[in-house]
Subunit: 168 residues, 4 copies
Amino acid sequence: MLKVDVITTGGTIEKIYSEQTSTVENLDNQIDRDLGRLRLPDCDVRVVPLMNKDSLEMTNVDRTAILEIIEQRLSDCSAIVITHGTDTMVQTGLHLKQALPELKVPIVLTGAMTPLGFEGSDGLQNLTESLFAIRLLGPGIYVVMHNQAFPIDRVKKDRETSRFVWID
Amino acid sequence: MLKVDVITTGGTIEKIYSEQTSTVENLDNQIDRDLGRLRLPDCDVRVVPLMNKDSLEMTNVDRTAILEIIEQRLSDCSAIVITHGTDTMVQTGLHLKQALPELKVPIVLTGAMTPLGFEGSDGLQNLTESLFAIRLLGPGIYVVMHNQAFPIDRVKKDRETSRFVWID
Amino acid sequence: MLKVDVITTGGTIEKIYSEQTSTVENLDNQIDRDLGRLRLPDCDVRVVPLMNKDSLEMTNVDRTAILEIIEQRLSDCSAIVITHGTDTMVQTGLHLKQALPELKVPIVLTGAMTPLGFEGSDGLQNLTESLFAIRLLGPGIYVVMHNQAFPIDRVKKDRETSRFVWID
Amino acid sequence: MLKVDVITTGGTIEKIYSEQTSTVENLDNQIDRDLGRLRLPDCDVRVVPLMNKDSLEMTNVDRTAILEIIEQRLSDCSAIVITHGTDTMVQTGLHLKQALPELKVPIVLTGAMTPLGFEGSDGLQNLTESLFAIRLLGPGIYVVMHNQAFPIDRVKKDRETSRFVWID
């Protein structure tokens, strides 16, 4: 049985539509319910809701909080998935890479371009891929999105096409 | 065979999530596709895309355009459904009531609190009800939302509860 | 506040796919959850699960049970919706019409051609329409399906086109 | 750009509900449309509809047809996904393993316990995982289902729990 922590931080993947403000907002952890739609018979997933932030508003204090929760949980699980806004996902990943040089498990950052529960959302695809990727990837920090796994120092977001692309 | 025109004007019901701006926007007519999900074997529906506006931005010029298209179409159809933002739906309806004193068919205004295609949307429910209501309602102008048909001069939006309520 | 009883009897609308048998079956009441997707702010709906039968297997004993539960509930509610298999829906409705000559409220029979929760299902449309119809229809027994309300003695199922049609 | 062939053979994943027979049937290729829901920006997927069979009815002639199409396509693509009924998926996979001893790419067999488009379907999850798996798996024949990749000679279906499990 694979033990996985899914640490949630907000970002588009967890945004919901607010009828009061007529906008999309990060109000609460939304990952739990969508994980319930996946069949994961040999996977013990623990969701750890950490914060509900648009990643453009994420600060160094927030990144330190992510690092601390990872350090606490690393000894107890075989892999970690972090759901995160796409705009600063790579920045957070590089921060973790520097702080965790001796990593013995895969850590996957993922998110979505369109929120979970909105038509055309890529959120469930990315969650599905991330939870699958941690079974096959070696130790290291990755972005998993849209059918691809990128080592964290080889990837950037391309805003125009709403996807991640390789860098040299 | 009932002939119905569905005039679309924008509003929340037609908003979509834009990955470029990370906001919800009125970009295009969205009603067509959702009508295709309904079984309407004895109903000849024509969708008339008129504008794509948040109803808070609707002007008198826009309301005159709605009135003109109705006047053009009235002789040719048995009922009219107008999809419209909820914030000024009643205002538009009262404008139509004043301008159309001799109405011989039902005109139904409807919309949604959460856009079509977003989880928890009330859009398809309201479309379903509106297309059903025109078979049973007499001539006049109505708001049909959330299981109820309100004559236009008996209704207001209650923003706090995201619904329409009766007024005396 | 409108008080409505929804009496569930099985039929296609409540069928689910069984992974054990690879067939669709009537195992349990499925209406509750789908009603929860509708916004019914001025409607007090009580679901009364009565039986889980394919309507081709419905017997006179079953129809008597439906009649008895209606007679018990009639004094306490403003309208009744019965979810029922489409194959013998009209037969059950005619049975009720004969047994309830002094009816003072509308009773609507509805169902689906494709089960709730299956892509392309008409179940939620028919439920939406039925709960709306009882607000506008007078006393009597009706089939409400696919955007139409049929008095029970004017309707039959057309198997070939998967719809209900008028009879003289 | 990864070139992948998705060979479709029927099975539960492609079953649809027939309103005429009130049963689920293999009538047509259903994979195309669901692939369209996935974001695969660096993946060139070609769907090859081969047959529409319940896998319990699959014969040796059918398995030879699958082998032949694979042999034709192998030189032209980087990986192959085969959608297949779960009951004889392993049997087909073992047949392919024996016939293709020098395989240089991964071949993934996948399917579903509940058809695509039915509530609670695992079909899209399994497709998502299979298209991701072929990027990370080495040459060989695998079953990919429910968050796991099994080498074909290490897996069997467990009917009671509707999943695949390891064998020694």
